[in-house]
């Protein structure tokens, strides 16, 4: 069986700066993987390369065993992305935004799916309001709806919790975990508490490399914190 995601020798250079250094990472299907690391460790860059926003300088990404290329629209539509940017147009209503994205993802029965996902993120009542009038939490929920709209088998979340209150955060993870489709989730985070609760395994990145990988077999928050600081300071 092929991996859901497999990176081979991924390197991303910005001028002389290497944001990713020969990253090799494979993730099994239906797993939830957390990526931890300081700011500038390469977490966001990795997510951006996996979501095809960014082109790796060297190396390849495989999705379900097939190489991910910019013009392979079929493969790319298996990926959903939620970042700290909402990717929503403030002049359009929630429904119009989702409708727009459903045409980009070429959905079969968009109206039905849009209503369904809007109900799931508790925004159905406000579906015709302009996104510009939404609160931060609502925007983030709609953003999640946008990422899940096309039922991606791989979901990438780049610091999804930024700026969210506790309730919205819990709803977010609730939806990610209970959504009907089978999917692999990769998320970056600074929050150890939710990480230990949610992930199946986690990796720690440092200066563009993956320096630690571990399964989550009931690890506690304080254990994780200890491992995290050991990894970051110990191997200096």
């Amino acid at each position: 069986m092929s991996y859901a995601i497999e990176c081979k020798d991924l390197t991303k250079r910005f001028g002389d700066f290497k944001a990713l250094k020969n990253v090799n990472l494979s993730v099994d299907k239906n797993r939830i993987l957390a990526i931890l690391g300081h700011n500038g460790a390469g977490k966001s860059t990795l997510i951006r390369v996996l979501s095809t926003i960014m082109h790796p300088t060297e190396g390849k990404v495989f999705i379900d065993g097939k190489e991910l290329k910019e013009d392979d629209t079929l493969l790319r539509s298996k990926i959903g992305l939620l970042s700290h940017n909402s990717y929503l147009y403030s002049n359009l209503s929630a429904k119009e935004n989702l409708k727009f994205y459903s045409s980009l993802y070429n959905l079969k029965d968009p109206d039905k799916r849009i209503d369904e996902i809007l109900k799931k993120v508790n925004l159905y009542d406000r579906r015709n309001d302009r996104v510009g009038t939404y609160s931060r939490g609502m925007t983030q929920r709609l953003s999640l709806a946008r990422a899940l709209l096309h039922q991606p088998s791989i979901l990438l979340l780049d610091e999804p919790e930024t700026g969210l209150d506790r309730d919205s955060m819990e709803l977010l993870w609730e939806i990610v975990r209970t959504d009907d489709t089978e999917r692999t989730v990769i998320f970056t985070s600074h929050n150890f508490q939710s990480t230990v609760k949610i992930c199946d395994e986690f990796i720690i990145m440092k200066k563009g490399s993956v320096v630690h990988r571990q399964d989550n077999n009931g690890i506690t928050e304080s254990d994780l914190e200890k491992i995290y600081s050991e990894v970051n300071e110990g191997k200096k």
Binding site: I53, S83, Y87, L88, Y89, N91, F100, S103, Y105, R130
Partner: protein
């Protein structure tokens, strides 16, 4: 086909979003009309002179209000980084280019629809003629297409407001020359056969400067 569905979705999204608050289009239209009015103070001329100046006046109005409008084409994508959302969606980069270009062509057409009658009304010189309209429409395609490429480039620089005009205006010189000359000939009572050489320039420009930005756009939006 998926490809065109995405292209038109992008264009439609831009048009709906803009028509909702009319932020840009209303000021661009006002600017276009103001240009026409300023001409009156800049040149005091009789009917005959106005007729010979008309093609130039029209294209000065189009060119400058066009710059203003095209300059804003990527502002909505910058806001909350929507461009990334487009790049992450399974749509090729050139489809994004076409979608943005078609959206901007619609705005350009709105400008033209307003400028033609206003000019006719203000100067009592009819510039509304099927061939003149055809010339304008054809010139609009190449004009917007190269403008969108440069606009995408401009939003990614410092001083983005300045970049588009200094790059765009010299590049579209051929279009402006050909469109102005063709319009002059027609308003002078010429026939379509008198302007074939200008039409050829416009069509050649359109073909070249739809193809080239279509290919190069991906190199602007990449990271």
């Amino acid at each position: 086909m998926n490809y065109w569905k995405a292209v038109f979705a992008i264009a439609k999204k831009d048009v709906i979003s803009e028509l909702r608050n009319r932020e840009i289009i209303s000021s661009v239209l006002l600017f276009a009309v103001l240009t026409l009015i300023i001409f009156h103070f800049a040149f005091t001329a009789d009917q005959k002179t106005i007729l010979s100046l008309a093609p130039g006046m029209l294209w000065v109005a189009f060119a400058f209000s066009g710059v203003l409008s095209i300059n804003r084409a990527f502002i909505s994508e910058k806001e909350d980084n929507c461009m990334e959302g487009l790049l992450a969606s399974p749509v090729s980069r050139d489809a994004i280019f076409l979608g943005k270009a078609i959206g901007s062509i619609v705005f350009m057409l709105i400008i033209e629809i307003v400028v033609f009658p206003v000019f006719t009304l203000l100067y009592n010189v009819s510039v509304i003629n099927p061939i003149v309209i055809l010339v304008t429409l054809l010139a609009t395609i190449g004009f917007v297409s190269i403008g969108i490429l440069f606009s995408a480039l401009a939003v990614n620089t410092r001083a983005r407001e300045m970049v588009l005009p200094i790059l765009f205006l010299p590049t579209v010189v051929p279009l402006i020359i050909a469109a102005v000359s063709a319009t002059s000939v027609i308003l002078d009572g010429g026939k379509f056969s008198d302007i074939t050489q200008y039409m050829l320039i416009i069509v050649a420009f359109d073909i070249i400067f739809v193809t080239v930005p279509f290919i190069l756009f991906r190199y602007i939006v990449e990271e």
